[in-house]
């Protein structure tokens, strides 16, 4: 092998090796940061992970919003019409957070079963329904129809 060829081979190997390492790192980071979405029914059925963060979504149940006095902690229930679950959040809620509104929350389930949200999202449009929430509602409805066929 001539020196030039050897040099070229080394460069090619370095590039291929570098790309491999980069791809592995990227895919690891990707896998670690994927957040799955679960509807309240799926959470009730125990399908959601316990060790990992995930997203839930549903309609804020009317009359369920409770403030913990002298703090910014708030507790509320969300529903996909079939099941409800309790969400706790400390901080400032988005402008369009209201009872009856569709919201999405990121967070983790606490040992006591309450979902501790690190972020609550409500889109900036009163007609907007987060797509995940819309499909969770549709699924719950379809489930109910199957359960009591008329």
């Amino acid at each position: 092998m001539t020196p030039t060829r050897k040099k070229r081979l080394l460069i090619v190997l370095a590039i291929v090796g570098g790309m491999g390492v980069a791809a592995a790192l990227i895919l690891t980071a990707f896998e670690k940061n994927l957040m799955y979405f679960y509807s309240p029914s799926e959470v009730a059925a125990g399908a959601a992970p316990h060790e990992r963060k995930f997203r839930v979504g549903g309609l804020v149940v009317n009359g369920s919003v409770k403030r913990v006095p002298d703090s910014l902690t708030i507790e509320f229930a969300i529903t996909d019409t079939a099941h409800e679950m309790t969400v706790a959040y400390t901080g400032i809620l988005p402008d369009l957070f209201r009872e009856g509104q569709g919201i999405v929350a990121h967070g983790q389930t606490r040992p006591d079963g309450i979902f501790e949200a690190s972020e609550v999202l409500a889109k900036h449009d009163e007609n907007y329904m987060p797509p995940e929430v819309a499909s969770a509602l549709a699924d719950a409805k379809a489930g109910a129809m199957q359960a009591n066929p008329q």
Binding site: I26, A29, N33, Y36, L72, D95, L96, P131
Partner: protein
């Protein structure tokens, strides 16, 4: 009656564009002069027609013609006039019309600045841009007609989304669109070069100003969007890795790679196929971005299903333009990396690595943006990719890029050696290290290693720029004269890189040293952040033009001195019954203070969001410098014509010999 005329004019424009998109191409290939000559007048007539249609839509908005469905959905008689105009591009149909108008504008610009281009080449470019325009005009006419009537007419309109009722949003979309659509010029040039089978250094010289031009607008557009999100969304974030942002960021990244690769092709004739590929891919990502944002795919994959006409049209259009151009590339593209010889250590290689890293960065953003959409479309589950993925991966790609930037600054064309480069940068390296250590000593914090690395890398860019300028001038006979007569392209490069450094430092310092405080406060109470005391003094209510306001007054004290008074607002927009947060911001070169009202609590207090954001202005200042650098480089006479340069060179020679 007038809206129908608008629709008719659009149909007419489509007819003219069909001529522009076909005959000149055939003419250029077959050598029919009179067929090629059609390109220029067709492009100009198309521009005038689309401009007229646009003016008609603006007229419908300004005069509150709620018999037009699009106006009824996106405007309201109580809306201030300026926002009625910007409401034109506030939703899907109108922004498509703006898109086409800008495309026509760029095409006309090509017909104006075509003095250097061979006739057949210019005709091809205009014609290829015509093909894109045919796609968009038909998309608009067949699926998204902005002039569609609403019968019976609405009594009043549904109003513009209050979030968009903001001065920043009047100019942000047009800037972004000028950038997006501008990438079609480089695309047209690349396709024309592929058709003619002559990809030369000369072609790269023609493309460069256009590529830089669209990149400037993209830079400004993205920065405006980030700045708007910061002050309007009311929680102090400036970048969210939201799919909409990513859609604009991907063509920017690849456009940056294109500019750098073009420099090599122009100067050394190397990497021709890579440059052409970048030009095609940049435009492909612009198209993808437009559709991600505008087709409704992002708000929901199901939007595709609810309006299958639009969705299918989008896919076919994307497939045709992207697929067609890549097939042409495979068929006609240069088959080897031939052209220009260079050693493994040379400026060529540094620039190649730079564009390759930028392409990798683009790919990681693309993966994070599209993967959830694909998965959901295939019914495999609903996922989202969190910002940490983008932060980690993106920084991992940026660090080697920045490290190489410093070396690239000194590297020589064709052949260089590591040894020489290391001698060149060693002082710069020590200086950057010193700056990082001093900065960390001053700022402290609990993540000093990461913050120090970030600041050090930013400083590294700055220091190598200064050292590079010094290196360029010190061996000249008249160093000071040389300093003030640096080539403009080089000055532009330095300014743009300085801007990048500023953005890097801004991002790093803001990310690591921001202080957030969410607290319950009643009028008369105080809160402390860093060494600032936020004093909630007053609360008042009044009416705006189409909203009701609750305004708080915050006096901010530093060491007992009153330094700022902020008046954050909570607005209720009446038409959509939608609350909006208007943050109170005290901007500064080294720090911003930020107050936003959350919500009223039962006992008269409010939840209040307070931020101390150091160096955040550096992020946007950097974008301004990058755009400025591009602007300076565009006006380098060497980019315009070799003949001008020769004339100027002779003129300089005369003056210096005098």
């Amino acid at each position: 009656m007038i809206p129908e005329i608008g629709q008719f004019i659009l149909a007419l424009a489509l007819a003219v564009t069909c001529v522009q998109a076909t005959l000149p191409i055939v003419g250029a290939i077959r050598g029919y002069d009179n067929w090629m000559a059609l390109a220029k007048p067709a492009a100009r007539i198309q521009f005038l027609l689309v401009l007229t249609a646009f003016a008609i839509l603006v007229h419908a908005f300004v005069t509150n013609d709620f018999s037009v469905a699009y106006v009824a959905q996106n405007s309201n008689s109580a809306l201030p006039t300026a926002y009625r105009v910007s409401a034109v591009w506030g939703a899907h149909e109108g922004s498509l019309l703006l898109w086409v108008l800008i495309l026509c504008g760029w095409t006309v610009a090509v017909t104006v600045f075509d003095k250097e281009l061979p006739r057949s080449f210019a005709a091809l470019v205009v014609s290829v841009m015509g093909i894109v325009s045919v796609g968009f005009l038909s998309f608009m006419l067949f699926t998204s007609n902005p002039f569609a009537r609403l019968l019976p007419a609405a009594g009043d309109g549904g109003d513009l989304n209050p979030l968009l009722q903001d001065p920043g949003l009047i100019i942000h979309p047009p800037m972004l669109y000028i950038g997006y659509v501008g990438t079609s010029v480089a695309f047209g040039f690349a396709i024309a070069a592929l058709i003619q089978g002559r990809i030369t250094a000369q072609a790269a010289r023609w493309i460069r100003p256009w590529a830089i031009g669209s990149w400037i607008f993209l830079t400004i557009g993205i920065a405006l969007g980030s700045w708007w999100a910061y002050y309007e969304l009311g929680w102090g974030g400036w970048w969210f890795w939201d799919p909409v942002e990513n859609a604009s960021f991907m063509p920017w990244l690849l456009g940056t790679a294109l500019i750098h690769s073009l420099a090599v092709t122009e100067k050394r004739g190397a990497f021709k196929n890579w440059t052409i590929l970048l030009a095609l891919a940049t435009f492909a990502l612009s198209l993808l971005g437009t559709f991600l944002v505008r087709s409704g795919v992002l708000t929901s994959v199901h939007a595709f299903a609810t309006d299958p006409g639009r969705g299918v049209f989008v896919l076919v259009l994307l497939g045709t333009v992207i697929g067609g151009s890549f097939i042409l590339y495979a068929w006609r593209g240069p088959s080897t990396f031939a052209g220009g010889s260079y050693e493994p250590v040379s400026r060529e290689i540094f620039l190649l690595l730079n564009s390759a890293l930028l392409a990798v960065a683009t790919a990681t953003v693309l993966l994070g943006t599209l993967y959830p959409l694909v998965l959901e479309a295939l019914g495999l589950g609903k996922i989202s990719v969190g910002p940490p993925y983008f932060n980690v991966v993106f920084s991992a790609v940026m660090l080697p890029l920045i490290a190489l930037m410093g070396f690239g600054q000194f590297s020589r064309w064709k052949s260089d050696s590591f040894k020489r480069l290391v001698t060149q940068v060693k002082y710069a390296f020590v200086a950057a290290l010193g700056i990082a250590i001093v900065a960390i000593a001053l700022l402290g914090g609990d993540k000093i290693v990461s913050a120090g690395i970030g600041i050090g890398f930013g400083a590294w860019i700055m220091v190598t720029i200064v050292a590079g300028i010094f290196e360029r001038c010190r061996n000249r006979e008249h160093p000071w004269y040389a300093l003030f007569h640096l080539p403009r392209a080089f000055v532009g490069q330095c300014v743009a890189h300085l801007g990048f450094a500023s953005t890097v430092i801004g991002v790093v310092v803001t990310s690591y040293y921001t202080i957030d405080l969410h607290q319950k406060l009643a009028p008369g109470e105080r809160a402390t952040i860093a060494n600032y005391e936020f004093h909630f003094t007053d609360l008042s209510s009044f009416d705006g033009p189409n909203y009701k306001v609750t305004e708080a007054t915050f006096e901010i004290f530093q060491d007992g001195q009153l330094v700022e008074v902020l008046k954050p607002q909570k607005r209720l927009y009446l038409v959509r019954n939608m609350p909006m947060t208007e943050a109170g911001i005290a901007p500064g070169f080294t720090r911003d203070l930020y107050v936003a009202l959350g919500e009223p609590l039962p006992d008269g207090a409010w939840s209040v969001r307070m931020h101390f954001k150091p160096f955040i202005r550096w992020i946007w200042l950097g974008a301004i410098l990058m755009a400025l650098g591009g602007f300076i480089a565009i006006f380098d006479p060497r980019l315009r014509s070799p003949s001008t340069v020769r004339r100027e060179a002779t003129a300089t020679a005369h003056t210096s010999s005098d």
